[in-house]
Structure formats: structure tokens, C-alpha cells
Amino acid sequence: MMTRQRIPLLVELPLLVWLVLVWGALWQDFSPGNLLFGALIAFAVANLLYLPPVELGGRFNLLYAVGFAGRFLYQLVLASVQVFWLALTRGPHLKNAVVAVRLRSPSDLLVTATGHALSLIPGSLVVEVDRSTSTLYLHCLNVVTSEDAENVRRNVRRTEEWLIRAMGSREDLARLGMPAPHHLDGRGHQ
């Protein structure tokens, strides 16, 4: 028998609410009876198919979340057009790079969210993650000079900053004020 820690209902609540919403959306029926039945199933699923709880930062700022979504959509459109343009004009003569970016937050959730957002935007792809140092290794299209790479790093840090302001913990927020760690000192940490 697998040993498991008991998860308090309050920690599990966001997951349950999400599952109930998915249930309602799939049935296209948000009537109370259907939602109640969905809640029962959500509770059963969350307890029978046990996964470690996602550790949330404990705060959520709607304003920054909306700002992040807007920035994400803008970058998505811009980068989609850029990649299309690169395919048409540059094609086989493309120069790429694998760039290491050290993130500030040690939180699994934030590193995952940052990597996810970056992978969704055309032109950057996470090929490797170093969890111990929160370092993302990104494959980026059309990065030729070290200045391009620096732009990539700045953009990644800004994405992380938006996410931290939206849902990072207080410690992560405090880290934002500190100077950024050097991008490759991950090598000293083995």
C-alpha cells in the first residue's frame, strides 16, 4: 500500500473546483444537480487516483494575471508571424542557439509555468531543465549574436517576473528586487 500524506481539503479545493468546472463544460450543463454529481466524482477521482499536491504560492493577483495573459497573447501572435516569415525568407539558412537562463524562483510550479509559457510561444523551446538550480535551457530560432541571446534571457526573466507577480510566493516576490544571478553560474553548482 502506497503511503500518502493527508491533503487538507482547503489545499485540494482549487483542484476540485477545476475538476467540477471541467465536468460542467464537458456536459455543457452547469445546473446544480449536475455540478453536485461532478463534485462527487471529482472528490472520488482526487482521492483514488492520488497525485502529489501542487504547491501554490499562497497568493494570486488577478490584475497581473490578466496582464500576463495579454502579454502572452501579444507575443503569441507576433512570434507566430515571425516564425512564418523566417520559414519563408530564411528557411534552410537559419542560425539557432541553445541558451541557458537561470530563473529566480526555486518553486517547481513557477519554473514549470515559465517553461510552459515560453514553449507555447513560437521561436523558443525548452530542451532541458535543471531543477536544482532552476535553469532552463532553451532552443531559440534565429539567435546569431550574443546580443540576441541576451535579449532572449531578458525576455525569459520578464515572463518569470510577470508570473511571480501574478502567483508567486512572498519569498519569490522579495527575490525580484535582488540583482539577477549570473546566467551560467549553474556550472559551479554540481
Binding site: V22, A25, F84, G91, K95, A100, P122, L125, T145
Partner: protein
């Protein structure tokens, strides 16, 4: 009003189709696995969004919106995972052309780790 909404839906569908075309052109034109990954997986994030918006505009009922949102959310959650897994496997099995990279900071780290391991092995065999 209906004509305007139909036109909007048409424009959105064309935009989505254009993203599929971008993916196809990228697949043909880009030189190696990792750069093709960009073309194959990414334009569809926007492409699917445009298609779903077109459906929403065409259907004009609120009941369909949650399903469409859910559809996009699941794509947002899953697309990067598969792209990451393929990209990571491609990098590890050396399915990339080094001559196309202007820099590779992961290679430096891998090299460093490999050297360290070699030194440790040497030391172990000397003792």
C-alpha cells in the same frame, strides 16, 4: 449584423488555416529536427485559437464557450510537454546539427559534467 459576423468568422478561419500553412512551410524549409519542432508545434497554438473563436462567432450561444475554452486550455497544457519531450530526446540522441547553432550553453554544461566524471573515474582507477 449576421453578415458581419459571418465575415469575421471567415477571416478567423482563414487566419487559422494560414497558421497550418506556416507549419507546413516551416516543416519543409527548416534544416534540422529542433527548428522543425518550432514550426510543427507552435503555430497551431494560435491556429487552434483562431478556429475556436470562429466556432464561437458562428454558434452564438453561451453554452459552447466553456467547451471551447477547455479545448484551448488542454492544448496549452499538453503541447509544450510533447514538444519538450521530443526536443529533449532529439538533443540527447544528437539529432541536431551543431553547425547550425551559434552557441550551445547546454553543451558546455554537459561537457563539464562529462570531464568531471572522467577525472573521477581516472582517480578511482589510479587508487
Amino acid at each position: 449584423m449576421d453578415a458581419a459576423l459571418d465575415l469575421l468568422a471567415g477571416v478567423l478561419l482563414l487566419g487559422g488555416a494560414l497558421m497550418s500553412l506556416a507549419a507546413a512551410v516551416g516543416l519543409l524549409r527548416f534544416p534540422d529536427l529542433l527548428s522543425r519542432m518550432h514550426a510543427a508545434t507552435k503555430p497551431q497554438v494560435l491556429g487552434l485559437l483562431l478556429f475556436l473563436l470562429a466556432i464561437a462567432v458562428q454558434q452564438r450561444t453561451w453554452a459552447v464557450i466553456p467547451v471551447l475554452v477547455l479545448c484551448w486550455v488542454f492544448q496549452l497544457l499538453t503541447a509544450p510537454v510533447s514538444a519538450h519531450m521530443v526536443g529533449r530526446a532529439g538533443y540527447r540522441t544528437k539529432h541536431l546539427r551543431k553547425d547550425l547553432l551559434s552557441m550551445d550553453e547546454l553543451d558546455e554544461v554537459v561537457e563539464h559534467a562529462a570531464n568531471r566524471r572522467r577525472k573521477e573515474a581516472d582517480r578511482a582507477s589510479n587508487e
